[in-house]
């Protein structure tokens, strides 16, 4: 965690950069290019793959036998249920991606608001807020998500809310660190002296100056949310077990790994590539914002 905070601190000590110029600069790095390419490819596959699926996700193919490697008319054979592996694979990316997207939106939105507010208000408010967030940080993200989802229901909404709320304190810490140094600058004092409303100062003075570190956080948290939601699916916590989803597919087809590996191989590689792609992209942006790859003179 300390390296993330150090990163955030070094971000804030530099003049604010706009997300657009950060992106342009980051795309000169090899890892950002590779990450973006993989990420876009996998996202397209996850979102639009289903329109190219030869079968529906519940349809039984061939003779209806499960775990057969060579079923005429299919690319990768049948899965544990007798459905087409390739079709279920094409269907299975969208739920993970959509849930991860909204969870990240919720977590980063709420977390950055609280982080900025804590840095701006300081004092007792800051202390109490950060200590209560520390309570949420004492749980591994997966543990808390697992308990909450098991107690309620594994519906998409509950998954989004839990992953979002467990992401929130992590984002709040980093954004608070970045915003603390902004709030000490003269233009914030000037806005305060002019009698601007707190929300206005927060959104038009502080937010633009932490937006670059927000961009880093958002990408990093998207990577983790995808991994977390896929893990929850792998553990069997998913709204509908008959609906294809990459994490669930791995769990369902795992026992047939020796004689029909495709039901596991395809989703394993898809999740791996998706998380590696978003991870590379996030790191490229992070490095650009922190100024790591621009020579030591500027650090």
């Amino acid at each position: 965690m300390s390296s993330v905070e150090a990163l955030a601190a070094s971000v804030a000590s530099q003049p604010a950069k706009r997300p657009a110029s950060v992106l342009r600069e980051a795309l000169r790095l090899r890892r950002t290019q590779v990450g973006l390419a993989i990420m876009v490819l996998l996202m397209l596959l996850a979102v639009f793959g289903r329109y190219f699926a030869p079968f529906s996700q519940v349809e039984v193919v061939g003779d209806g036998l499960p775990n057969v490697r060579n079923v005429p008319g299919t690319l990768f054979g049948s899965d544990y249920f007798g459905s087409d592996v390739w079709s279920r694979f094409l269907y299975g990316g969208r739920p993970i991606l959509i849930q991860a997207f909204f969870a990240t939106l919720l977590g980063v939105g709420l977390g950055s608001f609280l982080g900025m507010l804590a840095a701006y208000r300081r004092g007792r408010f800051d202390e109490i807020l950060m200590r209560s967030l520390d309570v949420l940080l004492s749980f591994p993200q997966l543990l808390l998500s697992l308990v909450v989802i098991a107690m309620f229901s594994p519906s998409a909404l509950v998954v989004i809310l839990t992953v979002g709320f467990t992401t929130m304190p992590r984002v709040a810490r980093v954004v608070r660190g970045a915003a603390l140094q902004v709030t000490e600058r003269d233009f914030v004092a000037a806005a305060d002296a002019l009698g601007e409303s707190r929300l206005r100062v927060l959104f038009s003075e502080i937010l633009p100056n932490v937006s670059a570190s927000l961009l880093v956080e958002a990408n990093l948290r998207l990577t983790y949310s995808i991994g977390l939601i896929a893990s929850l699916g792998f553990l069997g916590f998913t709204p509908d077990l008959s609906a294809a989803s990459w994490g669930v597919m791995i769990q369902q087809n795992r026992s047939a790994l020796t004689f029909q590996p495709w039901g596991v191989l395809l989703p394993v590689f898809a999740i791996a590539l998706l998380t590696i792609g978003t991870g590379f992209f996030a790191d490229g942006i992070g490095r650009t914002v922190a100024g790591i790859d621009r020579g030591k003179a500027e650090v």
């Binding site: 965690m1 300390s2 390296s3 150090a6 890892r31 200590r131 209560s132 520390d134 309570v135 004492s138 749980f139 591994p140 993200q141 997966l142 543990l143 697992l146 308990v147 909450v148 098991a150 107690m151 309620f152 990577t223 991994g227 977390l228 896929a230 893990s231 792998f234 553990l235 069997g236 994490g247 791995i250 795992r254 790994l257 020796t258 590996p261 596991v264 191989l265 394993v268 999740i271 791996a272 998380t275 590696i276 978003t278 991870g279 590379f280 790191d283």
Partner: protein, 316 residues
Amino acid sequence: MKFVVRRLLLGVATLFVVSLLIFVLTKAMRGDTATIVLGREATPEALKELRSDFGLDRPIITQYTSWIGGVVTGDLGKSFTTRAPVWAALSPRVSSSLFLLLCAGVVSIPLSLAVGSYAALHRDRRFDSWSSFVLLAVAALPEFIVGTFLVIVFATVVTKVLPATFYLSPDQPPWGNMKGIILPVVTLSISVLPYVARVTRAAVVEVLESDYVEMARLKGMPERTVLWRHALPNAIGPIFQVIALNLAYLAGGVIVVEWLFNYPGIGSALNDSVRARDLPVVQFLALSIAAVYIVTNLLADIGTVLATPRLRTRLT
């Protein structure tokens, strides 16, 4: 000393609020607990018996105080499903998980310290850039993907040199199956390596760029002496943080990894109890995993301060 006491008090307070949160969450389950645990077909007598047996008919505050009082005095109550005392059922699980964590720690801590410091000492050379690239890729992967990949390569599709699941006969201790523990340990180690190695690299780079290391070099000291006398002792503080980070991360990682390899520890116990809505077991497991998190962070903070002379004098 004042710092240590304050930090300890903060840790106890956090743990208290954590226990409240766990209790509220496990009580937030929709519907009647007894009906959910026993199923819809349960007779009214059985439901009534379960409620009075476990004190579910008492006010919620009383339920909390008797639970937390039990935790403090070592009485964890009984499991909803097996009716056996929670501690008796879980103590072999706890020792299995501790053994797994010990093995993973023994493998991953030295390895990540070595990779991180080697990369820092040979900064911007080939090993540094390649390890940074590979570690970045691995860091993004969820543990179950790493584990499943290892199963594909070593236990099923590619080769079958290692068992895909961990098997133990009931009277065997976890070290009775060293071959079976290899894949879980490697999975945990690979998952934790990137974080720890990156933090180590950053810590060592920072020390190497410090004024006192530059001073030592300018005095004409041999590089070896600079490293062992000036650089590494000053990197010990951050390394405490690194080890705590490692342990805390592993404590979360066991949840998926044990389930994946069918390893009989607290991670798979958590999975089972959460599914069965076995609340006394869930509460205890959630509390102990959170406690590991809090205690390791606390020890790391105190360790860092004690190992860093500058901080030590500032705080007393």
